[in-house]
């Protein structure tokens, strides 16, 4: 098929950017969205233009590297990552708008590449269990009821892609942060640091310049891993509990 792409081009963090139009032809339905962009890039190189920069690595929907806003939707029209979106969801002759994640906490690096290192700092401030190597007890010493383990797993599935932030009108990182808080706080292994974890992670989230949550719910709709909106409620509860009880 033949498509018109309007892509955000921006040379560097300080430079201005614009939407630039390109025509691509000969796109197969079986291509992934990124393979479609590969095709464009191959042509741009030969034409002496600069190819479009975008982050990607696994192309299997698990590393969380890829991500662009396609026709106003983070990761595009399907509930999956950009790398797992296939061209069969578009039609011949479509015009597709492609933009980077937009949020103050995710400054644009180049074209569609943004800096998501704020997520790493949120994790570093409490998104772990302090269990230095070698100190672990026998794995079966603490049974974890299956429903609890399942809840933990469902929240641990977050791939840190940042679509939630991109979709949120407030550029809020609540869904990302709550996914990790819930994953670790429901497990017995995470219990000793339950309070400090949520207080510190929320503190870092605010400090990194993400917006607050007004319960818009866009994040959960965009999340390719189906992290539920209620995990934000759970984190709020954990936060209130911690604010009351955290040892001073």
């Amino acid at each position: 098929m033949r498509l018109t792409l309007r892509i955000w081009r921006q040379r560097g963090p300080e430079q201005p950017g614009t939407m630039t139009a390109y025509e691509v032809d000969g796109i197969s339905e079986d291509m992934s969205f990124l393979e479609m962009l590969d095709t464009l890039n191959e042509r741009l190189i030969l034409d002496g233009d600069e190819p479009v920069a975008f982050d990607h690595d696994c192309r299997e929907g698990i590393c969380g590297a890829c991500g662009m806003v396609i026709n106003g939707q983070a990761h595009g029209p399907e509930r999956t990552t950009t790398c797992q979106l296939h061209m069969r969801h578009f039609s011949d002759g479509d015009t597709i708008d492609i933009e980077p994640w937009r949020a103050a906490a995710f400054p644009v690096v180049k074209d569609l590449v943004v800096d998501r290192s704020a997520f790493d700092r949120i994790i570093g401030s409490g998104g772990y269990v302090t269990a230095p190597t070698g100190s672990a007890p026998e794995a079966h010493a603490t049974p974890v009821p299956k429903p609890v383990a399942d809840t933990a797993f469902e929240h641990a599935e977050c791939i840190g892609c940042g679509a939630c932030v991109a979709a949120c009108p407030n550029g809020s990182a609540m869904l990302f942060t709550s996914a990790k808080v819930v994953h670790l706080n429901v497990l017995p292994q995470g219990a000793p640091e339950r309070e400090s974890r949520v207080l510190d992670m929320v503190g870092t989230m605010d400090a990194e310049g993400f917006g607050g949550c007004t319960n818009t719910g866009e994040c959960a709709v965009a999340c390719p891993k189906g992290i539920p909106l209620q995990s934000i409620a759970t984190m709020n509860r954990e936060f209130l509990r911690a604010a009351r009880r955290a040892p001073r």
Binding site: G12, D38, R59, V113, S117, P132, H140, V144
Partner: protein, 648 residues
């Protein structure tokens, strides 16, 4: 023919660090004899870790916990995105929670046998021993492994074994294990013990006075070239499967770190030992940028078949039972669909070569869940494999609950890598290699769920013990940044990048990569023979020359330039590919993933030649295009005696 094939055989090498004595005691002994660094002095020592996958992430966190100053690198924007995140199936450990006869010795035995007797016994035995602690460690970190209703850990079985020792987290085991390591690492980064450089790629190793003392790296955002110095350097940069262009590896996984180290003196072991995974989604066209793995765990419940008749193009549902050939169950009745990967892959290739393959181009076999759905119900199947089914449907637009999956083998893992001794040290003092980057534990074929085990064993337990010994023997001193070795390395890196940018030819970097990949897949892929390998060895240098004349890299060096990154990696692939073909040519036996058509049993199975080839081939670099020197490490089997592998 170039003189490349006229290689010399040099001094044999020996693994001098593995203690002798009963194999069960070797690791404890080594730990005891290794010198320690006084905790108060550790802070003064800097260790560079390249890579944040399971191996690098766990090593960085653990070394920092021990008190070392760690400087760590990854090319992704976050350490959490290392390729390990994509591992699906599971991680092995000899816990024997199932009471099904498993033990450390059995895991050791299975791994040596699965590797077709081309791995070092003492290493594998240590791996099996440490496996038990890995599970404990990961559970303590909050890794949400699958559990039974009683709250205890669940396990499943994987190819090549008859016990159920694989721990898993749905189809996302690698993700969960990696996030555990990443979180531990993040804690150390926040505490200031690890200095993390994301989006920074190592482009050369700095060797000063015979010791690895640092790296030259490029900031992928600004293009700035920087040097970093340390008392020891650890490479955890993963495997080199992407040399084939199409593989299941992450798109940006590459061989540059290990290849640059090889050029600086680290021997490269068994480069031709590559693993083809039997269950990948077949390619759908020329646009294909990578191949997607369908976890091996699917073989637990899926049945593999092709039509009995050649050229049968009926829809799978219309082919009656008695016209289907469940060839793995037929040829290997006791292991059935769970034979090791090399065997399953070759069997698939054979039936497709016979003209019985299915799907476009006849490059596929069916993996059918109809029986499993009938037996356990759709819900149970969905619970076990739901995400894989979804992924399959997304990519192929076919619903595997209704129509059997189509699968085909693809390049997946590389057993070869930098040669390391029992301490995981390469032939360059102070340079260590862990995880898929080294060659250590899997011989000629890796068993499913053993790479995660090895990466974590190396990173959490082995390296943090053995590196002490090296550091304790080399008191801390600083590197002079003006040292000629340093300036030479920086200038080399800069010149190479400038060269790539200045060629301004008429072919894209990817077009070269594709061409090289196809060549390798044809001649050094699932089956190899002398004629094909010689042909490839002639073609690769030509292609390399053409690359250096005709590649076009747009943009500049002082910015984010993904074409430049690619081209720079591809440049190394040419040299590596040449070594792989040479290694494959020289090893005239078949073993594990390396199948030489000249060496097979009458019924088409791989025929090993233990008399001539029971060694590790460690190659020493002698210059681009110049014949390398072969060093043999003879393998000794005291506990698991080599037999013809049989999975019938």
């Amino acid at each position: 023919m170039t003189s490349y094939t006229a290689y010399q055989t040099g001094e044999p090498i020996a693994d001098t660090k593995a203690p002798a004595g009963p194999i069960e005691e070797r690791w404890d002994r080594r730990r005891f004899t290794a010198k320690l660094v006084n905790p108060a002095n550790r802070r003064k020592h800097t260790v560079i870790v390249v890579g944040t996958g399971l191996a690098g992430g766990s090593a960085g966190a653990t070394l920092a916990e021990q008190g070392y100053h760690v400087v760590q690198f990854c090319y992704q924007d976050s350490p959490r995105r290392a390729h390990s995140i994509a591992a699906q199936g599971g991680v092995n450990a000899a816990k024997n929670y199932r009471n099904d006869g498993d033990s450390i010795h059995r895991l050791f035995y299975d791994t040596v046998k699965g590797g077709d007797f081309r791995a070092r016994e003492s290493n594998v035995r240590r791996l099996a021993q440490v496996s038990v602690e890995i599970i404990d460690q990961c559970v303590a970190q909050g890794v949400p492994f699958a559990r039974e209703y009683g709250g205890l850990l669940d396990t499943r079985s994987f190819g090549g074994v008859q016990v159920s020792r694989t721990f898993y987290a749905r189809g996302q085991t690698g993700q969960q294990l990696l996030l555990g390591a990443y979180q531990a690492l993040s804690r150390q980064i926040a505490a200031g013990n690890v200095e993390m450089h994301a989006r920074t790629e190592m482009l050369d190793l700095v060797v000063v006075d015979g010791r690895a003392r640092g790296i030259v790296a490029r900031d992928l955002v600004t293009g700035e070239i920087s040097t970093h110095f340390a008392d020891a350097v650890v490479l955890a940069s993963g495997g080199y499967g992407n040399v084939f262009y199409l593989s299941t590896n992450a798109k940006n996984s590459n061989a540059t770190a290990i290849w640059r180290a090889h050029r600086r003196g680290a021997h490269f072991a068994n480069p031709c030992f590559t693993q083809i995974h039997p269950t990948c989604i077949p390619r759908s066209g020329d646009h294909q940028s990578k191949l997607t793995l369908m976890s091996e765990s699917l073989r637990n419940d899926g049945r593999i078949w092709v039509p009995k008749a050649k050229g049968d193009t009926r829809a799978p549902g219309r082919i009656p039972e008695d016209e289907r050939d469940y060839y793995l169950e037929r040829i290997y009745p006791s292991f059935g669909n769970l034979v090791p990967r090399d065997i399953a892959s070759r069997a698939a290739k054979n039936v497709c070569d016979e003209g019985r393959g299915v799907g476009p181009g006849g490059q596929g076999v069916y993996l059918d869940f109809a029986d499993a759905i009938a037996r356990m119900g759709r819900d149970k199947v969905a619970e076990k494999y739901g995400n894989l089914f979804e992924m399959y449907e997304r990519i192929t637009a076919e619903d595997p609950y209704e129509v059997p999956m189509r699968i085909y083998p693809a390049i997946h893992y590389t057993m070869g890598g930098l040669w390391v001794d029992y301490d995981l040290q390469t032939t360059v003092p102070g340079l260590f290699a862990i995880g898929e980057a080294n060659f250590s534990d899997h011989g000629a074929n890796r068993l499913g769920a053993s790479a995660l085990m090895q990466g974590l064993a190396d990173g959490y337990f082995v390296l943090p013990s053995t590196i002490n010994d090296y550091l304790a023997r080399h008191p801390h001193d600083t590197v002079d940044p003006q040292h000629p070795s340093v300036t030479e390395a920086v200038e080399g890196v800069t010149a190479r990048l400038e060269k790539l940018l200045s060629i301004d030819g008429d072919r894209t970097p990817d077009s070269f990569h594709r061409e090289l990949g196809e060549l390798l897949w044809d001649d050094c892929g699932m089956a190899r023979n002398a004629t094909g390998l010689r042909k490839a060895l002639e073609r690769i240098p030509e292609l390399r020359d053409e690359f250096w004349r005709r590649v076009k890299v747009p943009g500049g060096g002082e910015e984010l330039n993904q074409s430049l990154e690619k081209a720079n990696r591809i440049a190394d692939y040419f040299e590596l590919a040449e070594l792989m073909c040479l290694d494959a040519l020289h090893r005239e036996e078949s073993c594990g993933g390396h199948f030489r058509e000249e060496s097979q049993t009458p019924d088409g199975e791989a025929a090993r030649d233990d008399d001539r080839f029971s060694y590790v081939a460690a190659w020493e670099f002698r210059g681009t295009g110049a014949a390398p020197v072969l060093h043999k490490e003879q393998l000794v089997f005291e506990y698991v005696h080599p037999t013809q592998r049989s999975y019938a």
